[in-house]
């Protein structure tokens, strides 16, 4: 059974890039384009991992991360945040809200996939 990834990103071309890249690696992909949809889809789809942008409509990525961490059904799902490079404040804030890891924009999909595989293999143990 393929692992399921929830991608939360409001920019359509970046979302499409992530979808294509992850599907070609054999992942099942579900998507959300704002913070509220991100939480709904998490509860409905129960993904194995979440890729979460920070700046989102309706509810930002930090708030989404914090809420998912506080929910008993979603607190164990690894979250990788998409942050700005050298924005130490964003990264630290992300970790404090419960993100497991981050990739910085502009990112390489190869780097993202490596981090995902690492987190997913750790989770299986």
């Amino acid at each position: 059974m393929p692992e399921k990834v929830l991608i939360v990103e409001d920019e359509p071309d970046t979302l499409q890039l992530l979808r294509e890249s992850l599907e070609s690696e054999g992942y099942e992909v579900v998507t959300a384009i704002d913070g509220i949809e991100a939480e709904d889809k998490t509860h409905r789809e129960n993904p194995d991992i979440i890729i979460l942008d920070i700046f989102l409509p309706k509810r930002d990525g930090y708030e989404v991360c914090r809420r998912l961490r506080e929910d008993k059904d979603s607190f164990g799902i690894p979250i990788i945040m998409l942050t700005a490079r050298d924005d130490y404040g964003s990264r630290l804030k992300g970790f404090l809200q419960g993100a497991f890891d981050y990739v910085t924009k502009p990112f390489s999909t190869d780097d993202l996939i490596k981090k995902m595989k690492k987190l997913l293999s750790t989770r299986k143990k």
């Binding site: 920019e11 970046t14 700046f55 700005a84 924005d87 924009k105 502009p106 390489s108």
Partner: protein, 243 residues
């Protein structure tokens, strides 16, 4: 009369405090805007870079020479945009004054020794002679040691990149203090091959403007000055002397 003066003073103080508060708010809003703007600028760069790389790597099939050439140009320009965004990001903490710069006495030669030591190997590998001309007496300057070391390293590194093998990179400390107004400064002169940072010499115009702006911001935040030497147009950094 005394009562009136006191009331006027209190009113002036109140207005001043209000003005300071407004300026701080404006500064914070600008910084938040800059952070958001930079994030929005970064976002399109990912799909552009990645899709162009996929095509160049042959993942969408063969491409002809002309297509490859055009896409190589696009890739280069995207990398240039990324560098520009990085430079803009670096401005933010300096502009808002939240870099936490120290202003303590530093032995200037210590900074220079560390910079030369860190770049010696690179200069040797490139076949470039890296020289520093120092006065007999050690100037003690006031500033933040770490950021000054980073600024000097950046400038010399740029110069090494602009110098061909067999050439030399010389930077010097002027033995005679410069007096500006009431204050004395030591002058450090950088080679005119600082390249993208120096006035009028720029293959990377955006990087040059922002790089110099960043260096000026850092140096001025420590009480120093950045200027171009009149005769040679070499970049000069003036650091406040202690004592």
């Amino acid at each position: 009369m005394a009562g009136e003066d006191s009331a006027k003073y209190k009113e002036a103080e109140r207005k001043l405090k209000q003005k300071i508060k407004e300026l701080k708010t404006r500064d914070r809003v600008k910084e938040e805007f800059l952070t958001l703007a930079l994030h929005k600028l970064r976002s399109p760069l990912t799909p552009i870079k990645e899709y162009v790389s996929k095509i160049l790597d042959g993942k969408t099939g063969d491409i002809n020479q002309q297509q490859k050439r055009y896409l190589d140009i696009v890739k280069r320009q995207v990398e240039r945009l990324i560098r520009l965004v990085e430079e803009l990001s670096e401005l933010s903490p300096v502009k808002s004054g939240r870099l936490g710069l120290k202003k303590e006495p530093i032995a200037l030669f210590d900074i220079i020794d560390k910079v030369v030591e860190s770049l010696k190997r690179e200069a040797e590998d490139k076949g470039i002679s890296l020289c520093v001309q120092l006065p007999a007496n050690q100037p003690i300057v006031r500033g933040d040691e770490k950021t000054l070391r980073e600024v000097f390293t950046k400038l010399i590194k740029n110069s090494l990149n602009e110098t061909s093998s067999g050439g030399e990179v010389i930077f010097s400390v002027n033995g005679k203090p410069k007096v500006v107004g009431q204050n004395k400064f030591v002058e450090i002169l950088f080679p005119d091959t600082v390249g993208g940072i120096t006035q009028g010499k720029s293959g990377n115009k955006e990087g040059a403007g922002l790089g110099l702006f960043m260096i000026k911001s850092i140096v001025e935040a420590q009480g120093g000055k950045v200027r171009f030497e009149d005769e040679s147009s070499r970049l000069a950094i003036l650091l406040p002397l202690v004592g």
